[in-house]
Amino acid sequence: MIDKTWPDAASAVACVEDGATVMIGGFGRSGQPVELIDALIAHGARELTIVNNNAGNGDTGLAALIAAGRVRKIVCSFPRQADSWVFDERYRSGRIELELVPQGNLAERIRAAGAGIGGFYTPTGVGTLLAEGAELRTIGGRDHVLQFPLHADVALIGALAADRWGNLVYRRTARNFGPVMATAARTTIAQVDAVVPLGQLDPEAVVTPGIYVDRVVVVGERPWLREGRFVGGVDIDGHPIADETQEAVR
């Protein structure tokens, strides 16, 4: 019998070794698997290479992992944000390595790793600093650069719901990198709001088939949902808002 549910985040992430390459889903805070990251911090693995679109927001999640000094290098497309002070400080002081990748190359390189593609040619980045050193090839009269797949030891992703086979569905734009990262890692760990009985997810609407998922951790329903329905009442960071502050929300 297949049962990929795991008792807790701590035991699920215990397989992450020092020096591992870890993909972390999410786009900014949206879809970021914060509970798995917290468990990874507690687990203590060091010298990690992190693959994420960004480089952390505020002081939680990926930012906390960086602040804890566990990240040797980050591969991302958009580190500099209004609330990326943790990364900014460590980058400026030379304590973290940055590999900057155009977002489409990041996504496609991750997909290539999952799809068994050895490399691909893309026009993105041609003639720019971010393609320096990349092999150039003219195809159909257009210049392309050769990009290689991006594999990971472990992927930590966030989804809405799973079944015990590891089939996943996501919610709105929190889907983002989760489905491709799940395909590109040797071990994929998903945190979900809930595990539903096998057969309850619509086979036409499963986004990540369970074959790509190794471990599922239930973290409880996100604060802006109640029994699966959107109730709101939070700010963009997911924090509850008092009534008098609602005017400030855009």
């Binding site: 489409g104 996504a107 919610r171």
Partner: protein, 218 residues
């Protein structure tokens, strides 16, 4: 009459050129504002690279959904007819040439259409590129929306970019606070002048020579 139009007027001017039925990506920052001026009688489908086609305006207070954000990580909504997809599918859409228009900001645009908009190359600056390079090579029309001059008075339309490039020969048209320019084989063509600006004044401000655009409004 002023020789410059406001940021909102510029956003409205860009919006006016986007046809009914177009699939459009609006870059983060000023281009996002174009959404507020899209003509109500046109159905224009907004794409955001984090996985949504059919993006709607900001939600009402209290209805912010942290799972529904745009490329700038701001709260947005979905419209009827929306579709979600993952990041690789989203960038396949952008890179495969399916978007009709993208609107980007710029540090510099060169007269051959080169775009610089992601890094000033300054020491200690933290670089960030996001999806700009993918939009620059992928959209059928790449519109740039920017002031003609920096705050320091330096022209953003240049002979050749001195800042690191985002894309090569990729810009279709530049909407500035003083005029609209098409990128042509022979350089920038003034398509439309705003307010009291004249071609001669703009040439002096930028140090460039402009060609006459086909079908220019000015």
């Amino acid at each position: 009459m002023n020789d410059r139009i406001s940021r909102d007027e510029l956003a409205a001017r860009v919006a006016a050129d986007i046809p009914d039925g177009a699939y459009v990506n609006l870059g983060i920052g000023a281009p996002t504002r174009v959404a507020d001026f899209l003509p109500a009688e046109r159905e224009i489908v907004l794409h955001t690279e984090n996985g949504l086609l059919g993006m709607g305006p900001a939600p009402a207070a209290g209805a912010v959904d942290p799972d529904l954000v745009n490329a700038g990580k701001q709260a947005v909504t979905e419209v009827a007819g929306a579709a979600y997809f993952h990041h690789a599918d989203s960038f396949a859409m952008m890179r495969g040439g399916h978007l009709d228009v993208c609107v980007l900001g710029a540090f510099q645009v060169a007269e051959n259409g080169d775009l610089a908009n992601w890094s000033t190359g300054g020491e200690g600056a933290i670089p960030a590129v996001g999806g700009a390079m993918d939009l620059a090579i992928g959209a059928k029309s790449v519109y740039v929306m920017t002031d003609l001059l920096t705050r320091a008075g330096e022209p953003k339309l240049v002979r050749a970019c001195s800042y690191p490039l985002t894309g090569v020969r990729c810009v279709t048209r530049v909407y500035t606070d003083r005029a609209v320019f098409d990128v042509t084989e022979r350089g920038f063509a003034v398509r439309e002048l705003f307010g009291t600006a004249t071609v001669a004044e703009l040439e002096e401000l930028t140090g460039l020579s402009f060609v006459t655009a086909e079908g220019a409004a000015a």
